[in-house]
């Protein structure tokens, strides 16, 4: 994916929901895209499938999948591509499942729709598919309707539909946000195992840094429609270079917290996409800014092998960041 730009045409001007986002994903890799609401993380993922809602439009950039450019595909090709190569899992499975059709039938439909399997094959694969996503008593439950499933079970059914065509990329958009932690733990395990079994890449979109630490090999941190930092998970968590990543990690309480430390809060609010500040988009909330941040937007430069950050200052150049952040 290169230099992606998604613009929304709304009354009162154009809004850049995603601006100049480039990244690549290797086969079998699990990449986390983290950011707060409005950071553009969901839009980035939707554009991979060319599913940007109206009045949005991809105005720039290429989305290369192997050799093919998703942005240039015909409607027919894109439909084929969505079902067979990429699967998407959404936050709220209830809105993606048809409430009046049986679960088994919907999983079957998903397989038939993309012509990967014949009707007969599809029928035979439904129960094994549900077993694969660890729905207990799958044989009996194929005849259930979505409302008879719990939230976690519905999410499993959605995953079953997604992976039934053995896609090579699975996009999970906040797949566990609506679920309880104990259920979340099992869904995350499931995604991890499926990715390994299918040798599929996974993009995990979330606001939860801890989830990323547990599942992902690589992290992309987004803020105001831009990538502000990306790199291997370990580097990002141990050595964050962008003040936003750094503060975000220290703003969330940890369950294993030993001594009660004051959380580092990021003052203010993310910018309104229609009214972006000049210079670095994070400077109005940044505790470490310098004069340059007000006027010039920093590039996403390599700061360590494999790690890039969009910042003029970089956390490694700051002597005692904790003390400075608490002022």
């Amino acid at each position: 994916m290169q230099d992606l730009k998604v613009q929304f045409f709304v009354s009162g001007g154009t809004v850049n929901a995603v601006d100049g986002v480039s990244f690549e994903i290797d086969r079998g890799e699990i990449v986390g895209i983290v950011g707060e609401s409005g950071s553009g993380k969901t839009m980035t993922a939707l554009s991979l499938l060319r599913l940007i809602p109206e009045p949005g439009r991809i105005t720039n950039g290429r989305i290369l999948y192997g050799e093919k450019d998703v942005a240039q595909m015909t409607d027919e090709e894109i439909r084929e591509f969505r079902g067979n190569e990429i699967a998407m899992i959404f936050q709220d499975p209830m809105t993606s499942l048809n409430p009046v059709l049986r679960i088994g039938f919907q999983v079957e439909e998903a397989m038939i729709a993309h012509q990967r399997f014949s009707n007969k094959q599809a029928k035979e694969r439904v129960v094994p598919m549900l077993q694969r996503v660890r729905i207990p008593a799958a044989k009996d439950r194929v005849r259930d309707y979505p409302h008879q499933f719990s939230g976690g079970m519905r999410q499993r059914a959605m995953i079953a539909m997604g992976v039934s065509n053995e896609p090579s990329l699975l996009i999970a958009d906040e797949p566990t946000t609506a679920l309880d932690v104990t259920v979340q733990a099992s869904i995350i395990e499931l995604i991890r195992d499926l990715s390994r079994e299918l040798r599929a890449s996974v993009i995990l979109i979330t606001h939860n840094m801890a989830l990323v630490a547990s599942l992902c090999n690589r992290v992309i941190v987004m803020y105001a429609g831009r990538i502000v930092e990306q790199g291997p998970t370990r580097a990002i968590f141990k050595n964050p270079q962008h003040p936003y990543t750094w503060s975000l990690l220290r703003s969330m309480p940890r369950v294993d917290e030993k001594e009660k430390e004051r959380l580092i809060s990021i003052k203010g609010l993310p910018p309104d996409l229609g009214k972006m500040p000049p210079g670095c988009k994070f400077h109005p909330r940044c505790k470490f800014r310098v004069d340059r941040c007000f006027t010039e937007e920093p590039p996403l430069d390599e700061v360590d092998p494999g790690q890039r950050a969009r910042c003029w200052v970089l956390m490694k150049n700051i002597a005692n960041p904790e003390a400075q952040a608490q002022t």
Binding site: P284, K287, W312, N317
Partner: protein
């Protein structure tokens, strides 16, 4: 890179700028304006009100004055809408009819709301026995043939009691007593839903008494749908009045009711259709305008349509 110079940090939360103020009503108004049909309806209703106001102080001829020219005279320069079977100026009578229409429509909407809102609020807010009783009456009332009861009411109120002359007020009361249930039922539903909302719980925690909860928290938030419902009550009342008057059971002659005017011209429809057409068109356009505005308001107040 050089060591970053510490920057003095203003308190961002306090200095945070806020966008210009948009109230919910102005938001609804903005969406209403985008609805062409509702806008046309609003203009028509505006004209109706202006006409009604003018008719109080001035009409080309007095509305009751007969034989200002030949009877059944078709439209002419002197009488743009012609004259009726008694030689009265139809334009003047249409203008006078506008006033009747506005009085009946707005009056009924107000009375219907005055009955329906308190009953609905009490039923929805207190639930239990209060609700059982009020809902029982609502359902009973729905079962009664309203037109029949309204007709009886008109006679009982005006003729039998001899208290009030058969006039606009009687029509309004008869209509409201038979049609208050729509508003009551709507408000009951709103109150039932709103009383569970967190801000009502929060108000309870703030020590608000029941009256404050109803008046300050529940009613203002139900106002949108109530306005819509009341708007739809207006054309219903107007039609009711026209219907009664057409049958000769409504406003007595020579009150320039559009319904009565249509009845007057009914016998001369073959050779003088203008007598029937003028009030009928006026009535239809008015009814349509209120319905358009009602639809527009409903959409404008619908939170799902926001943005």
């Amino acid at each position: 890179m050089a060591q970053a110079a510490p920057v003095i940090q203003p308190d961002l939360e306090l200095s945070y700028e806020m966008p210009e103020q948009v109230t919910l009503l102005s938001d609804a108004w903005r969406r209403l304006r985008r609805n062409r049909l509702a806008l046309v309806g609003a203009v028509i209703i505006g004209l109706l009100f202006i006409t009604a106001l003018i008719s109080i102080v001035w009409t080309p001829y007095p509305t009751w004055l007969q034989a200002v020219g030949p009877t059944y005279q078709p439209p002419s320069a002197a009488h743009p809408l012609g004259l009726d079977q008694a030689g009265r100026d139809i334009l003047s009578r249409i203008m006078g009819g506008a006033l009747i229409t506005v009085q009946v429509g707005v009056g009924s909407a107000i009375i219907v709301s005055l009955i329906g809102i308190p009953l609905g609020l009490l039923a929805g807010f207190y639930r239990g026995k209060v609700d059982t009783v009020i809902s029982f009456f609502i359902n009973i009332w729905y079962g009664i043939p309203d037109l029949l009861v309204a007709l009886i009411l008109v006679f009982v109120l005006s003729d039998a009691l001899h208290l009030i002359p058969r006039g606009v007020l009687v029509i309004i009361i008869a209509f409201s007593l038979t049609r208050w249930m729509d508003v009551a039922r709507l408000v009951r539903g709103q109150a039932l839903a709103l009383r569970e909302r967190e801000f009502v719980e929060a108000a309870r925690m703030s020590g608000a008494r029941d009256f404050a909860l109803l008046a300050r928290h529940i009613l203002p938030n139900a106002l949108g749908p109530i306005i819509v419902q009341a708007t739809f009550a207006i054309p219903a009342a107007v039609l009711f009045e026209a219907f009664l008057s057409f049958l000769g059971l409504g406003l007595p002659s020579p009150t320039p009711s559009w319904g009565a005017m249509a009845a007057d011209g009914y016998h001369g429809m073959d050779f003088a259709p203008h007598i029937v057409l003028a009030p009928t068109i006026a009535l239809s356009v008015t009814l349509m305008a209120f319905n358009w505005v009602g639809d527009g308001l409903r959409d404008a107040f619908d939170p799902r349509m926001r943005r």
